[in-house]
């Protein structure tokens, strides 16, 4: 570690070995892997929730085999604007972490189903996304596989789940990101308030794969709970993830608010329904995010922006939450008049200077107004914080060449996740898998 890097792990207080612990976490190489003794089969099709879940197991050291027909998983061609590198789409490249690739056509070939069943008898986890009951009909569903391998964890992804009458009726409806977002309640909460023109008032899609990534994360989390139970008892189980649950089950608000308020929330644009100020504002040279929701943060923000005369207005000092929309929009505009006078850098500095003094002074009441320049993903990649933390990683695919990914989601001192290689070649590991697991 360079002396410069050392600075970034140093913390105040009475010495101790915190800095040393953190410095050792800057690198994952050579450390043990959590799942180095399990085999995961990902036979999901045209479904990134399955691919993402498989990636998380692979990053923690599992042997993950992506199983697809000879023409490849259609997921390879789900990519922004049709952009690929030699036919491989960007999201598939992004998730091609530590994986093996094997060709088996379980949909059409009886023989390949048998091979799959033999592999599954040695696997800890199977991930699939066919229509509920389809794998079962082919004789390679959870029932059959678990009879051979009672420790098997079988993760099934679908739109409406594996049980209930609704699941039966809509079994053939495929799961995609945008239908998962819509069906689980995200777009209903995003968009301009009712007084603005169409289509801005429409429910809005989240600009990331919120449905698929939440389903994938939920599948990996449920699967890991099942792995712990298997570690303790030797028993496996089935894990059922429904895309139409994704967002609402993760954040929990829609169910409880719909029940207690007996109606749906309207869309309120850049406002927030609990905190204020908590959003983004236009400034001289772009946009800033401002979070100053606690009373003392809000008062501090008023001082920073030269708006102290608003302090004794009851509408804003004690009733900032926008259940009265006009009132909240009015306050939003008062703040905007001020933010427009400064550049993003100036506003960040003004807030930071106040917060620094506030932290040291008993008279300022601890108010910490936070201002940050909004970044696009491309700008975020340039941030020094992520260079020091190695949050982005340049990887090289043997066939596709070099590209950049955001690395793992967490740092751990003993058994951290890591990306060891990326690969994407259809059937690239057929021989390896057959030798290692099928004795062919």
């Amino acid at each position: 570690m360079s002396p410069r890097e050392e600075v970034y792990t140093r913390h105040g207080g009475k010495g101790g070995d915190r800095g040393k612990i953190l410095a050792e976490m800057m690198n994952a190489e050579g450390k043990p892997e959590v799942l180095d003794d399990i085999l995961v089969l990902d036979v999901s099709s045209a479904n990134f929730a399955g691919i993402v879940a498989a990636s998380f197991f692979a990053e923690f050291g599992a042997e993950v085999v992506k199983i697809e027909p000879p023409e490849g998983d259609p997921a390879r061609r789900i990519t922004p604007f049709g952009v690929t590198v030699q036919g491989v789409g960007i999201p598939f490249m992004f998730e091609g972490r530590n994986k093996r690739y094997m060709t088996l056509d379980v949909k059409n070939r009886e023989e390949d189903r048998k091979t799959f069943a033999r592999l599954a008898s040695r696997a800890a986890v199977v991930i699939e996304s066919f229509a509920p009951g389809e794998m079962d009909g082919w004789g390679i569903g959870y029932r059959r596989l678990a009879a051979e391998n009672p420790g098997l964890i079988y993760i099934a992804l679908s739109a409406y789940g594996q049980y209930t009458d609704k699941a039966r009726e809509s079994a053939k409806m495929p799961d995609t990101d945008i239908t998962s977002q819509a069906g689980s309640g995200l777009p209903a909460q995003m968009g301009a308030p009712p007084n603005e023109p169409e289509p801005y008032t429409w429910p809005l899609r989240g600009g990331m794969w919120a449905g698929w990534y939440i389903s994938g994360l939920s599948a990996a989390l449920g699967g890991t709970v099942a792995l712990l139970h298997r570690q303790n008892t030797g028993r496996g189980q089935m894990v059922d993830v429904a895309g139409m649950d994704a967002y609402s089950s993760m954040v929990g608000m829609p169910a409880t608010i719909g029940f207690t308020w007996e109606k749906a929330r309207p869309r309120i644009g850049v406002l927030d329904f609990i905190l204020y100020p908590y959003g983004h504002w236009k400034c001289k040279d772009g946009f800033v995010a401002i979070a100053a929701p606690r009373d003392h943060d809000f008062r501090a923000l008023l001082k920073v922006l030269g708006l102290w005369e608003q302090e004794d207005d009851w509408r804003y000092s004690s009733d900032r939450i926008p259940d009265i929309l006009e009132q909240a929009i009015h306050l939003h505009k008062i703040i905007e008049e001020k933010t427009l006078l400064y550049t993003g850098d100036e506003l960040v500095k003004m807030a930071l200077n106040y917060s620094k003094k506030s932290a040291r002074s008993k008279w300022r009441g601890g108010g910490v107004p936070i201002v940050m320049k909004l970044m696009t993903p491309e700008e975020a990649m340039q941030n020094k914080q992520w260079h020091i933390r190695k949050a982005f990683q340049e990887v090289e695919d043997e066939k596709l060449g070099k590209y950049t990914i955001s690395s793992n989601f967490v740092k751990m001192s003993e058994s951290p996740p890591r990306v060891k290689w990326v690969a994407s070649e259809i059937g690239g590991d057929n021989e390896y898998i057959r030798k290692k697991y099928l004795n062919d």
Binding site: I21, V34, F56, F60, P74, P80, F81, I90, M93, E95, D136, Y160, Q162, Y163, A167, S170, P174, D177, I178, S180, A182, G183, S184, G185, P187, A188, P199, L204, R205, G222, T224, V225, L227, H229, Q231, G236, D240, A242, S248, S249, A255, I257, G258, T260, W261, A264, I274, Y278, H280, D323, I370, M372, M375, P377, A380, M381, R389, F409, V410, M412
Partner: protein, 451 residues
């Protein structure tokens, strides 16, 4: 063989879930965290059977207790906080006193996991950080949650979900191109998603500890959690261009967007594969579309000019249909479509209640409340709701008695010295007005009272 859906109905039967084993039984978690990001990781562990003791300061409590939507309380509690902190033990200890720290250290001896989300370095400065706790209990799994991580030049910057969304770039992606109309992701999803990531890391650490006996330190930065979900960085490194904002259209498939129907309702419709596209073309009575040279190949179809033309066809078709007709066709012809579900629909739709996606839970203190089910259903060791959030310090006595073996006299002494404390009269902290704590068996040292 038995019909698949009757088999799965038995396998997952929600009515039997409470009798099934719990995967994390016997795991004890000390939860020092507040607001959403840390608490949700702890709650997920509690849902799967861990004993989670949530630590708060007397008379103040968690900052999120009074943070309810538009200031609307439900039975003097914050309705959405129940989802964030259910199944936990609520212990309220005055951290400024030496005796209080001793209590925490004693609990740390038998704990498996500690979770905190103060500004980096704060927990150590207070003597409840990894440095101190790992000396008391070397095999502890210690999770620190923060916005930018425990090291790096920005480590001391305070954060909220909003700032993680801003720092990762995801905030600028939700909206319309070439306009100022863009919005943050709603409902603090920038806390919930990283909180789930944090829980996944703890589960991995538990798995590793069972194999090796070793605990570890976990540094979860919520911005890095969000960054893990964006392939936008890879798109940029390959093309030197940004994906940017694309309004209501998902640029990775076509058609894929939010549409308005003839009856002025909203739905999402998508075709992720050629097969789904063929089904869609048949359903709308345009069977020639899949052989149109612009649309025949998936990658060709996705090119912006072709995608635009196909999107326009879909817009016109959906505008001529009622919502019910589109959904029925999608079910019959096998292409993806879903109505844009709002709070009221999610709370009330029958299939969600039957599946357990939404549970009408009956709580001893609050009565019935609809609460979200888990986002993954486990057949063997399902997640479950056992009790809702509780008033500040509600479990003080039972935690001290059962987990630390203190006598009732000793506990009364601690109460007198204000080492432990409870709520004042503010909503969010106190019990519902109709509820008599003096008759509550749990509040009263676990004794049966007045029954």
């Amino acid at each position: 063989m038995e019909d698949y859906f009757s088999y799965t109905a038995k396998l997952f039967n929600p009515d039997e879930a409470d009798q099934k084993p719990e995967a994390l039984k016997g795991i004890r978690v000390l939860d020092f965290s507040h607001v959403i990001f840390g608490p949700i990781a702890a709650r997920l562990l509690a849902d799967y059977g861990a004993e989670v003791i949530k630590l708060e300061l007397p008379f103040y409590g968690d900052l999120w207790r009074p943070a309810t939507y538009w200031g609307k309380y439900w039975k003097h509690s914050n309705p959405i906080w129940h989802n964030i902190t259910k199944n936990k033990y609520f212990l309220s200890v005055n951290l400024q006193l030496k005796e209080s720290k001793e209590l925490i250290y004693q609990m740390a001896k038998d704990a498996d996991v500690v979770i905190e989300n103060f500004a980096p370095g704060t927990a150590d400065a207070w003597g409840i950080g990894y440095e101190k706790i790992s000396k008391i209990n070397p095999n502890i799994i210690f999770l620190s949650c923060s916005t930018y991580g425990q090291f790096g030049p920005m480590r001391y910057f305070p954060g909220w979900d909003l700032l993680a969304q801003g720092a990762s770039g995801v905030l600028t992606l939700n909206g319309y191109p070439d306009t100022d109309n863009f919005y943050k992701l709603p409902d603090y999803v920038g806390d919930f998603v990283p909180g789930n990531f944090a829980c996944l890391a703890v589960l991995m650490a538990l798995y590793y500890r069972k194999k090796t006996g070793k605990g570890q330190y976990i540094d979860m930065a919520q911005t890095e959690g969000l960054m893990r979900t964006l392939f936008h960085y890879t798109y940029y490194s390959v093309t030197q261009k940004a994906i940017g904002r694309t309004g209501n259209v998902d640029p990775t498939m076509v058609p894929a967007a939010v549409f308005k129907t003839a009856d002025d309702k909203f739905l999402a419709l998508a075709c992720a594969t050629s097969e789904q596209f063929e089904h869609f073309a048949l359903a709308i009575g345009r069977p020639e579309l899949p052989s149109d040279p612009r649309f025949a190949d998936t990658l060709e179809r996705l090119k912006p000019e072709n995608a635009k033309a196909l999107h326009a066809i879909a817009v016109d078709w959906v505008r001529s249909q009622s919502l019910a007709d589109v959904i029925r066709l999608a079910d019959d012809k096998n292409f993806p479509a879903a109505e844009v579900a709002d709070d009221y629909m999610i709370a009330n739709e029958e299939w969600r209640r039957k599946r357990g996606s939404v549970v009408l839970f009956k709580d001893d203190m609050y009565g019935h409340l609809a609460i979200a089910g888990p986002s993954a259903m486990l057949s063997g060791t399902p997640s479950r709701t056992k009790w809702l959030a509780r008033p500040l310090g509600y479990h003080n006595r039972i935690v001290l008695k059962k987990f630390l073996g203190l006598s009732e006299a000793e506990i009364e002494k601690l109460e007198k010295k204000k080492v432990v404390g409870t709520f004042d009269d503010r909503p969010g902290l106190k019990p519902p007005v109709y509820y008599d704590l003096s008759k509550d068996p749990i509040y009263n040292y676990g004794k049966e009272v007045g029954k």
